[in-house]
Symmetry: C2
Subunit: 233 residues, 2 copies
């Protein structure tokens, strides 16, 4: 709106940032459930009630952190993928996957915040869905590029059930226009596979089987690439 914000506005923005920064520090250090508004206020040297001028409740503050986490993950994935030449579709997929995994391992508490079990009674608000879809968008672009270049092999899979065909068609229009629904159905599988593996690795469900998970992860990523019909190269 106005480039010249008032002093009050600037102070408000700064304090909002500081509160979020301290909150993130606590989440990273001790997990989302230990996040305490009172200890934030103590750390910032203000009264606990003052926090409520900036975030109406603990959940609102958590939501802000969630949005930031989605954005951070999206940016990280976009960044790592952008370093791969555009025409290497399979390499871009691999970069996307390792990007997600690396980010998740480095910032596991924030990952748990967005992909772990939601806080009870917590319903993801409207403003989270855009940042939440950045990773999916990256996958969509990659598929669209591969399709446009005529490099995707036909998928080997059972025919789509009608409802799924419709959903896949809708996803295609939003995320990868022109790409056939069969490809997007397989991409949905690959997508849930990716986060399923990262979840299991981070939450300890691979202990005793595929732990450490590096090679298993790479292997699965390859299999998913084949499932989507990505070119070998």
């Amino acid at each position: 709106m106005n480039a010249i914000r008032t002093a009050r506005q600037r102070a408000r923005d700064e304090l909002t940032r500081e509160i979020k920064a301290e909150a993130r520090r606590q989440v990273v250090a001790e997990g989302p459930q230990r996040l305490s508004l009172r200890s934030i206020s103590r750390e910032l040297g203000m009264a606990s009630s003052a926090i409520y001028r900036y975030f109406p409740s603990r959940d609102h503050l958590l939501t802000a952190l969630i949005i930031d986490a989605y954005d951070s993950l999206g940016a990280a994935v976009e960044d790592v993928e952008s370093h791969v030449p555009r025409e290497y579709i399979r390499a871009r997929w691999q970069a996307l996957c390792t990007g997600v995994r690396t980010w998740a391992r480095q910032r596991s508490q924030e990952y748990a915040l967005i992909y772990g079990s939601p806080v009870p009674g917590y319903r993801a608000p409207e403003e989270t869905i855009a940042p939440a879809s950045r990773v999916a968008m990256a996958l969509g672009r990659l598929l669209a590029d591969g399709w446009a270049a005529g490099e995707l092999r036909p998928v080997q899979a059972p025919p789509l059930r009608p409802g799924l065909a419709e959903q896949a068609e809708h996803v295609a229009t939003v995320i990868a226009p022109g790409v056939p629904r069969e490809v997007l159905a397989q991409a949905l599988i690959a997508w849930t596979q990716l986060f399923g593996m990262v979840n299991f690795e981070l939450f300890g469900h691979l202990v005793g089987s595929a732990d450490p998970a590096d090679e298993f992860f790479d292997h699965a990523v390859d299999c998913m690439a084949d499932l989507m019909g990505l070119p070998a190269e």
Copy 2:
């Protein structure tokens, strides 16, 4: 040990059960984080401090619930799978998957308890790992049966990296003796895929794409069956 337990022992067992039952009711109704020892004691008409004679901490009570949840899921899956004739390998896989999904949808809070993000600083204790592996065991039996019957098709996948080959070999000896490691590597993928989908469905990450997820789920289950080389039938 002794069939004739003392009155004290019987009272103790009963109260332990009642505490767990009330705790489970609260978890089902409001989620794990709202579980409150004080409100349990209030509901049971006892002093809050008395609970600590039965569970040394809130986390210990949660662990007991987690074990019960694993056992309940394992039993449900075993039950639904046992109703399929032993020789229908693919149908057993499908039954296993829908068994997991159905249980998860019916008891979502308990599912979140075991497959959501772990409570902060919470480390899964030793006694959870046996009940936690019941679903994996069922998958192993199914593969072993299929292999013994000579019905598994050779898997179409990249060769295993050495570390993964070793891990798959180890999983095979524990869960599906005799079955080649290549099959178990694909089974690991199918396994993470299964829980990845259920996670995403329950935690709202499929909203806007594959929601409702029934057909997508069935499709993915089929694809995973193919990935493992299960017979068509």
